[in-house]
Amino acid sequence: MGVAVRVIPCLDVHGGRVVKGINFLDLRDAGDPVELARTYDAEGADELTFLDISASHEERATTMEMVSRCAEEVFIPLTVGGGVSSTADVDRLLRAGADKVAVNTAAIRRPELVAEIADRFGNQVLVLSVDARRAPEEAATDSGWEVTTHGGRQSAGLDAIAWAKQACDLGAGEILLNAMDADGTTDGFDLDLIAAVRHEVTVPVIASGGAGAVDHFPPAVDAGADAVLAATVFHFGTLRIGEVKDGLRAAGHPVR
């Protein structure tokens, strides 16, 4: 049997509201993260990830309240990311009710942050979010993959595979691997990227980016993903959590 492949919906929140369009089911308030979290929980989501795209302190404070309300109503793990840049940020999120915290850009700027968070809170709370794509010829990396920032618009000048490995050595407990080349295509996960990261790290890998159909999910797990994350296909009702799990189960992967 073994541990189940986790299916994780990701919600973009801004000032405590879900911002990407949600048009499935009969939600009274499609922008309310708590109601949406409850719905996904009922559908069998194994975890929830909130990505806070707020810019101001006031908006972030609202997000914190939102996390608290979710943690009080939904009894599955919650990961929160977006703008986390210090151990104080992590402490606030954990106290608000988050179980795991995703760091991205701040860790690229200052890799010691990974060690600081892991030393204080344990590596199980720390998800390193990596926005990776194939490196262009003029900026080749050893592995052929590079890290990007600003939603994939800028190169960070880092080898994505080496960065994932370094972050794990520093204490990251999980990798959220966002394939920027596949993101938004709905053509399927970037299997080469998943395999390349899986080969170099021993922590769980969450595959993200490119999911568009049920049969896209099993190959991601075959390539080495321990969990699969998607946003749009779930929010727009293109796919339901249960369908994705049925597909994984039919392919021989354990699911909850």
Partner: protein, 208 residues
Amino acid sequence: MKKVVVLDYGSGNLRSAVRAVERAGAEVTLTGDFDAALEADGLLVPGVGAYAACMAGLREIKGDRVIGRRLAGGRPVLGICVGMQVLFERGIEHGVETDGCDEWPGVVERLQAPVVPHMGWNTVDVPTGTTLFDGIEGERFYFVHSYGVRDWTLVTNDRTKAPLVTWADAGDRFVAAVENGPLCATQFHPEKSGDAGAALLRNWIGTL
């Protein structure tokens, strides 16, 4: 309604534990106060992060003594995650050995599995006679940990009853739960294990 104290001895997500126990039907207080923890019908000992840091935090509020005193009086204690690990003899993390509460023999050490941390929903191998898992023997529970008790040889004699041990497999076999009279513990997080976790907490509250 039974009164449960969730022992507060450091940072981390305690809100979920408090709410989950409330939802399971108990009156919950989050505190590190010695007397309150001693007097409650049930004491829940959470724990996340490093073994050494958890033990230090626990000792600071005399949590180890509260646990010992409660058990001497047959009063229920439930340890969760690192809150379970600290009940064992000692823990070894990054080569650092730390004494635990020593309620049970055994060492907490790093899991020898291809992927660590063990993170996600796993099945458990429940022994007959269980109370905690009554009605939820076949469910999956949410784990997130890199260390565990990988070996426990149970010794019984005419006078003592061996603990009921639930095992799980993450590519490495480890103790997932223990039921030992008033002292129970789970390596997984019932407060994060959805309906199955709620049922387990209700089963525990039923013993108070």
